[in-house]
Point group: C3
Amino acid sequence: MPAYTTNMRLKFPIVALVLEIITIILFAVFVEYDDGKHHGHNEHDKHFNETHHEKASMDLYPMFQDVHVMIFIGFGFLMTFLKRYGFSSVGFNLLLAAFGLQWGLFMQGIWHMDNGKIKVNIFKMINADFSTATVLISFGAVLGKTSPVQLLIMTVLEITIFSINEHIVAELLRVSYDVGASIIIHAFGAYFGLAVARVLYRPGLRNGHENDGSVYHSDLFAMIGTVFLWMFWPSFNSAIADPGFTQLTAVINTYFSLAACVLSAYGISSLVEHKGKLDMVHIQNATLAGGVAVGTCADMNIGAFGAMLIGLVAGIISSQGFKHLSPILASHLGIQDTCGVHNLYGMPGILGGLAGIVAVALGKKRGVWAIFLNTKCDAAMQAAALASSLGFALVGGAVTGLIMKLPIWGQPPDKNCFNDSIYWEVPGEENESLAHSDHSKNKAEA
Amino acid sequence: MPAYTTNMRLKFPIVALVLEIITIILFAVFVEYDDGKHHGHNEHDKHFNETHHEKASMDLYPMFQDVHVMIFIGFGFLMTFLKRYGFSSVGFNLLLAAFGLQWGLFMQGIWHMDNGKIKVNIFKMINADFSTATVLISFGAVLGKTSPVQLLIMTVLEITIFSINEHIVAELLRVSYDVGASIIIHAFGAYFGLAVARVLYRPGLRNGHENDGSVYHSDLFAMIGTVFLWMFWPSFNSAIADPGFTQLTAVINTYFSLAACVLSAYGISSLVEHKGKLDMVHIQNATLAGGVAVGTCADMNIGAFGAMLIGLVAGIISSQGFKHLSPILASHLGIQDTCGVHNLYGMPGILGGLAGIVAVALGKKRGVWAIFLNTKCDAAMQAAALASSLGFALVGGAVTGLIMKLPIWGQPPDKNCFNDSIYWEVPGEENESLAHSDHSKNKAEA
Amino acid sequence: MPAYTTNMRLKFPIVALVLEIITIILFAVFVEYDDGKHHGHNEHDKHFNETHHEKASMDLYPMFQDVHVMIFIGFGFLMTFLKRYGFSSVGFNLLLAAFGLQWGLFMQGIWHMDNGKIKVNIFKMINADFSTATVLISFGAVLGKTSPVQLLIMTVLEITIFSINEHIVAELLRVSYDVGASIIIHAFGAYFGLAVARVLYRPGLRNGHENDGSVYHSDLFAMIGTVFLWMFWPSFNSAIADPGFTQLTAVINTYFSLAACVLSAYGISSLVEHKGKLDMVHIQNATLAGGVAVGTCADMNIGAFGAMLIGLVAGIISSQGFKHLSPILASHLGIQDTCGVHNLYGMPGILGGLAGIVAVALGKKRGVWAIFLNTKCDAAMQAAALASSLGFALVGGAVTGLIMKLPIWGQPPDKNCFNDSIYWEVPGEENESLAHSDHSKNKAEA
């Protein structure tokens, strides 16, 4: 049954290269450099074409690089916590994000063409990086249980669906109050991934897997991801904010929300364990929930203390979720969420969406948009944006999961899950190499 | 004797959450976004309120992020060199800095209120990050020998005392010549930590501890911290300098001081070992001494070669200190300085302070301040600033140490020092997991 | 025979400190801060002294820091893939780059003096960092087989030769179309290193060496280097581009070239292995070839799709090179290229040079230079630049190799190659320390 093999030799190169070649052709036809001269016939594309900072070509570049680090180092290393899945975590992360940013730039761009062309600039590159975040979040839910071909398929479909939902939320509902993307990226990516994980449910892993856990050093590698995500989250939440005071507000709110979230994540982690010890799972993940949850209202006038309250609550919800909710999701609903994306992105994303509804209802929105649109864009529209995003995520994720389930994509059998060696050439470990290599020094010390 | 338990289940969450809630309340009352409109009735707050780059809201953001990386990745990973204390190093570093930046913003801000409000902006966020550096330096001196509750207490007290000393130095003495904070952060943090370490002296560790050392990979993790600190130190020393040429001067001086320091640190490391081998302790630490030592006069007209001389000397002093002075401090003075902060921050900080006195005496100070203040701010004032900082550090550290010594904060017994497993859930190690996990590949190679 | 000892105790400190002191003296005589006021008598130094963004002192600082991260984290950790050579990889990288940036600033500066002075600014610091990249690339070819004294000698000579070639290419031939330095840095550094490696050929390593390979965690450390290089390559290729639209073009082209290169590197890696598994060597290296290859024409109007085509081809060439060409170079030509720099920098650098020739011939060059110089700087000049760079690299590398081969620099014997312990104090490994340290937890789990 060659269709069931996990040998990727033909199918993976073909899928990867064909996708890339198609993308290059699409770019040749549709993509141009943005020279700053917009034709302006497309009056409705305010969000994309008329924001003035888009024209100052390189101003956003440092922000872009911060986001870039979050996508490739942050997400990539955060998932290296598994003891034998580090190559795949950081390696597939690079693969999916590198393809995703090209696909995302195209899919987001086709809604905002200028004389039939997508004009690429730093602002659009930030949005392209953002679009890959949805895939990387979903990747966390199915980490260790999917082949690279399945993951590339997920990338194509998820970014396509994301772009449709983003367009609906941003253009049709005229809701643009999600500057840090709690709703359209974090909640969307989490529930999309959970839907995929549900469809790909593996009864054989009900009782766990010996490789579904960390070792000492893999937890330290994961902390590289955590800390870079934590540090640069203010850039994530403010990168596409209106420049000036609004952007500053988004930075400040995110900075303090994250800081408060650390205290509650640590506190709850110690509280829920009977010996009061801290759990690395909480520290690696729940400390970031404050960045997710403050996203929607990051650029609103909620006060630093308001942001800290959101962060405090997010840290509590997230760490509690890891402790109490994830086991229930796995055992009762058949959702095996490897990284606990429900706790890091799902619930905090919804919290962020709800906080946004409240903040908009209280009139905390800032900037020119508030004046221009305050009659149309009310709290109900925020709620509709949240509902749309969750709907697209769950339905889109379920459909995507069904396609990924076709037995031709090289999905690993249960026993080879969470193990790099099924898709990677894996070298031996330290202890073996040491036995041969370092005679003088180590033998003396042994 | 429940008071002597190291179980953190109640005391740590209570301390962490109560501190955070108090901080949120203080922020709700006192902290506002800085909208750039200052009332100006507070004529003396030139350093904080009238510097023009403070008003250009986002200009300093890339500098801020460099400093942010130093605080959270730099300090955090630098301390992961211990073989079994990586979780605590990077994890407690995150905890202390996340709380410290909130506390620091408040404690620094109350001296410079505008209509009863602390107006937060990027400039103040940089200073808040700076204030945490004092705690993280002191943390290095007591690394492995304190509970997270003790460390949170130290954070509160040290940042409070730091803010008082900073205010005295900056406002009362009218000395603002410490742009890179050799005196008020590095020397202060080091001697504060050494005083705490002296009070917490553990006779039981006189003959060392099996876990008080590195392994191969922990030394590589530490190099992540070293290199990020090394790279971004020019940002640390120039972030709050006057914009333009003065800031450029601070960047250039720090860049070349650090480069020269690498050569002397490597040279001396090889020279002091009878086989001429390099010692990772020196490489991880002494290479950074040039950044510390050039701090005070980083923005002065000392010439690139002057900066290089300072770096050269700092590298020599620092690596010699690790080799010869630290053992003496431990055995004769009862100062068990885990990370050798005396060599990395203490002596180079004093060297920086002395270099600043000489440079000011020689008229190397640059910028508007020099013209405005050159009659008042002479070399004697620089010396007074150094003396004040050392005095506050030693007395403040001793008092803080006495409070931390109270037997109710869960301090670890000697045998559990330098070991994550007393406060963390620690997974097994690679060798154990390998025995189960990777049958095919590793067995074949074994 | 003390001359043949690998004990570095005297020779290394003497070489390091003497080099540093000479450099400090040269800086004292020749180097000044750039205050933005140029005398302008030196009419031909357009590339260095009249570019207007050089005057806006701090504008380039975020770009500089990205390049700085590539040099110290990127190159340093990329080479930690060897199982027992991590200290040397990241440690010697720091040493060579720290000295090289000083030497490079001087050697590049003497061609462009202003009233007998080298005026240092951020632009020159970026170029100084660039000059060290040539050495770090060559270091990859001889990794594990040279002493730190040999490497310092190589640094002095290679940067000197690089500066001469750069001057010839930039000034005499009037070719400045190598914004991302595919030719003058990447191809130059690679072929220089290969020439050195050829001269230092070790027949004793013909059949490999037990330490010339990776272990699981060393491959993960290397990915830190890979990903930081990958992320910040757009900064490398655009840092010294003309500001504004041209710089934006360089960023966009590099971003998409790298993204496309990932897909082809992964695809080919899987295709060339009979089980279709990915090889970490390809992922760590070939994914970066797109950044190298697009360098020369990064700021030209080649279209995003043109950049993607270059990246696609570079990924294919590079990963094929690792698989098929490196073994042939080693066995037939006696070139033992530890890191495969021929595949990552050599061939992609030449590809970049050729792409530049084609692009210039097709009139894709942008900006004021194109208008000003389009009669002189044609495709033939591009070809001459490539030929000059390869010529200087091969001849310079061979001469440098002969000097390095003198039996007085402490070169390691074959059996001690690829092993930190010959030049470093190396601690024991996890397994040994664990046997003593963590009784409670680990024994229970064992």
